[in-house]
């Protein structure tokens, strides 16, 4: 039941209708929990059990952590981490580990046959295990108290607007919204629906309608393409992945808003980043904050000297890359970002004091350089295998003859969309989307929303899943 489906619209209308009834707050929360389970079960009902395992483990672990001391506290924390990472490890990385082990054995001359078990990746497992686990860690660190109500905690883990692809919520942030009944506000509903339309426009029209076909032309070609095509396809993917994932996240914020909840933004004009640390403060914000708080800082962060800081950065980005998928390409993608972060840190250390690097023109230049380098790393993210990625890098960096797959229309579409995207991100760099939009006169807002809705309705394209559903 993807957000860009008709069946989801009907489902959400039903959930909203019940949520709007004059019921007790507990009953309305129970409705949301039930809806979240129905939403999740719509993909594969047996995987609900995994969601329940994660929920019950952290519910139990956090309560025991609270009343225990010394080694026992650590043991209960370990239980939470082992169960959540165990689920993630088996379902997401089981096949990958087995394949690599078998290749290693073959390399060593040992005939080891893989079991051939076809493990299906449960939707959203990377998101909800991180979310659930962070609750136990926060209780362990005395940042929050364990929840009094299992209903509240279960709803925090499974809240359907953000269950399958984030934004990853923090327990302290979300569960305080569950304590008291929300006052119903027509404004929340109006703004929530507006966000849903904006998100759908990004997904259906921009990501799927305009950019995805160009990306597919370039990235499904098994032979060499031209340098221009490789750049056009990769720039198109830069746009596609942003509009796809940001579209999803904006819809999530909008759905939550319609129900009276706040969910954090996941993207803050990332293509206007100046440098890679800035990029990671703006791209998939809730994941990078999670990795910073629960991994980078746990590894020692920047408190243990220069070399250790670099090592921690590299390790965090490698694992962050692997979090995206069980493939060496994602590991390389994470490694590339780790390396770029280390280079940036070193450069700042050496050149940071030079006035030239503080000027506005230099800032824009560095911003564009950041965008180009980020775009280059997307090749690793999108290419079907290492050979294809190497081939694309070769023609992008040293253009040579190849098969031309992108036509003039593709070039015009991609360059226009990317130029508009960059322009918007630079304009919005220090602005907040909500207040920028709400400052417009109401007829302008109505015109923009109508144009987006018309484009959604008239672009009867092929239905595509959200990219981050694969993670």
């Amino acid at each position: 039941m993807a957000f860009n489906s008709l069946i989801f619209l009907l489902f959400f209308a039903g959930v909203l209708a019940v949520h709007a009834l004059p019921l007790r707050w507990q009953a309305r929360k129970a409705n949301l929990l039930l809806a979240s389970y129905v939403f999740y079960a719509a993909w594969n009902p047996p995987f609900l059990v995994l969601l329940w395992i994660s929920t019950l483990t952290d519910w139990f672990a956090a309560r025991r952590i609270r009343i225990s001391s010394g080694r026992k506290r650590k043991l209960y924390l370990l239980l939470s981490i082992l169960v959540n990472l165990g689920l993630l490890g088996y379902f997401k990385y089981g096949g990958f580990l087995e394949d690599n082990f078998s290749q290693l054995m073959a390399w060593l001359g040992v005939d080891y046959q893989v079991s051939g078990s076809d493990i299906i990746l449960p939707l959203g497992i990377s998101f909800y295990t991180f979310q659930s686990m962070s609750y136990s860690i926060d209780v362990y660190r005395d940042r929050i108290k364990p929840a009094d109500s299992i209903l509240d905690f279960a709803l925090y883990v499974s809240f359907f607007p953000q269950l399958v692809a984030g934004p990853i919520l923090r327990a302290g942030y979300f569960m305080q919204q569950l304590v008291e009944a929300h006052r119903r506000r027509a404004d929340d509903f109006g703004w929530g629906i507006a966000l849903i339309v904006v998100g759908l426009f990004e997904k259906v029209v921009l990501a799927d309608g305009l950019l995805a076909p160009v990306v597919e032309k370039v990235y499904t070609l098994s032979a060499d393409t031209t340098g221009i095509d490789a750049w056009v396809g990769t720039l198109a993917f830069s746009g596609q992945i942003f509009f796809d994932f940001n579209g999803y996240s904006v819809i999530a914020v909008g759905l939550a808003k319609c129900l009276g909840f706040q969910v954090p933004w996941n993207f803050l004009s990332p293509y206007a980043s100046v440098g890679f640390s800035d990029f990671w403060r703006r791209w998939h914000v809730t994941l990078s904050a999670w990795l910073r708080d629960y991994l980078y800082i746990s590894l020692g962060g920047n408190r243990l000297g220069q070399m250790r800081t670099y090592a921690n950065l590299a390790m965090t980005m490698l694992l962050g890359g692997l979090w995206h998928g069980a493939s060496w390409l994602f590991v390389l993608w994470g490694a590339a970002h780790g390396m770029l972060l280390i280079i940036e840190r070193l450069s700042k250390h050496l050149l940071g004091g030079i006035a030239f690097f503080q000027g506005p023109a230099t800032k824009v230049m560095l911003g564009l350089l950041t965008f180009v380098l980020v775009t280059l790393t997307w090749v690793l993210f999108r290419a079907p295998d290492l050979d294809s990625a190497a081939r694309l890098y070769a023609v992008m960096l040293m253009p040579s003859g190849g098969i031309n797959v992108a036509d003039l229309r593709d070039v015009i579409v991609v360059s226009s969309v990317i130029a508009a995207l960059l322009g918007t991100h630079w304009f919005m760099r220090n602005r907040e989307f909500g207040s920028a939009m709400k400052r417009l006169p109401w007829p302008t807002i109505a015109f923009i929303l109508a144009a987006m809705l018309i484009a959604i309705l008239l672009s009867a394209g092929e239905e595509r899943d959200f990219i981050y559903f694969e993670f």
């Binding site: 039941m1 489906s5 008709l6 069946i7 719509a42 993909w43 594969n44 027509a186 404004d187 509903f189 109006g190 703004w191 629906i193 507006a194 309608g209 914020v253 808003k257 706040q262 954090p264 933004w265 803050l268 004009s269 403060r281 914000v285 919005m428 760099r429 220090n430 602005r431 907040e432 989307f433 909500g434 207040s435 709400k438 400052r439 417009l440 109401w442 007829p443 807002i445 109505a446 015109f447 929303l449 109508a450 809705l453 018309i454 309705l457 008239l458 672009s459 009867a460 092929e462 239905e463």
Partner: protein
């Protein structure tokens, strides 16, 4: 830096006005677009894609022994008018042929599905059965359809039904009514895009208007395509293939399925090439001898000839109703 959380802003727009105006604007524009494209003859149109196919495949599961399933490529899909066949046999008919592809993955899928127990009619177009370049030509066509069908959740099936429901009622959802096609056409020629040469029906019957088809639709044009993509199996390659078909047919028959193989008509340059590349005695006859099923070759039934379109390979859509009636009678004659 932008604030991490969004939302609260004291000066909320007047959302009631915003949404009333938005709905009005959307209604006017989309309603006008609907009327415009309908006026140009672009009515609601189904798209012959994985969605329509998967829905048909799901429907098949409900009909057990009653069902008649049609497999093959474009020849089968364009030859049979599903409604006519339903009338003729008084049984539900499911068109699962896919243009430009081999039927083998779907035949395998039906063989292992315990719910399938009716009649399966397979159209053998020589280039999609006896051709060693098949995988290259076919690119896993019907296997992709099966994968799509196999991975559909119940929610996805419901979504499919809803999508098809709207496709059959709203002209603005038709592929040719998309602004991305209409606007450039209007700017370039001053007219709306022409009608789609293919009319796809809800039951996956396809009617083709050859006058509207782009490119070379003559039998020579198709024959040239054939030459590029055909290479007969060698005897040693064909033997295991025949054995494999016999095994699948055996699996189907164990469930009580009646299997028919049929060779639909072809003529002119296409037939000449088919006869040259895939002589009947080397391929069709060998298959018939080694596979325990009913075989219907058009050459043995003169009443099946004379319905072809100018391409020499497909039944003329204007005569598909008539052809289906005759074809159904021939199948009935051969009933075991």
């Amino acid at each position: 830096m932008t604030s991490f959380t969004s939302n609260s802003d004291p000066s909320e727009p007047r959302w009631g006005y915003v949404w009333a105006a938005t709905i009005l604007l959307v209604g006017i524009v989309v309603g006008s677009w609907e009327l415009l494209v309908r006026d140009a003859g672009l009515g609601p149109a189904y798209v012959d894609n994985k969605t329509l196919w998967a829905d048909t495949r799901h429907q098949l599961n409900k009909h057990g022994q009653e069902a008649i399933v049609l497999l093959g490529a474009s020849r089968m899909q364009r030859a049979v008018d599903v409604n006519t066949m339903i009338d003729r046999f008084d049984r539900p008919v499911f068109q699962l042929s896919v243009e430009g592809s081999s039927y083998l993955p779907v035949l395998e899928n039906l063989a292992v599905d315990p719910r399938i127990s009716g009649t399966v009619v397979v159209s053998i177009a020589p280039a999609f059965t006896f051709n060693r370049l098949l995988t290259q030509l076919d690119n896993g066509g019907q296997a992709k359809y099966i994968a799509h069908y196999d991975t559909q959740s119940y929610a996805r099936q419901l979504e499919q039904r809803l999508t098809l429901f709207l496709q059959g009622r709203l002209a603005f959802r038709a592929p040719r009514a998309k602004p991305a096609i209409v606007i450039p056409e209007l700017l370039n020629t001053g007219t709306l895009p022409g009608l789609d040469p293919n009319t796809v029906f809800r039951d996956r019957t396809v009617h083709v208007n050859h006058d509207l088809m782009p490119g070379d639709q003559s039998d020579e044009g198709l024959a040239a395509h054939y030459v590029r993509n055909a290479e007969p199996y060698t005897r040693s390659e064909f033997e295991p293939f025949v054995h494999y078909i016999a095994t699948i047919v055996g699996m189907l028959q164990q469930k009580g399925v009646d299997v028919y193989f049929t060779r639909l008509p072809s003529a002119g340059a296409v037939l000449a090439l088919e006869s040259d590349y895939f002589p009947r005695e080397q391929f069709w006859d060998v298959l018939e001898k080694n596979v325990d099923a009913t075989f219907v070759h058009y050459a043995d039934y003169p009443e099946l000839e004379g319905f072809l379109s100018a391409d020499g390979s497909h039944i003329d859509s204007a005569r598909s109703v008539e052809f289906t009636a005759v074809f159904s009678d021939v199948l009935s004659l051969n009933q075991r």
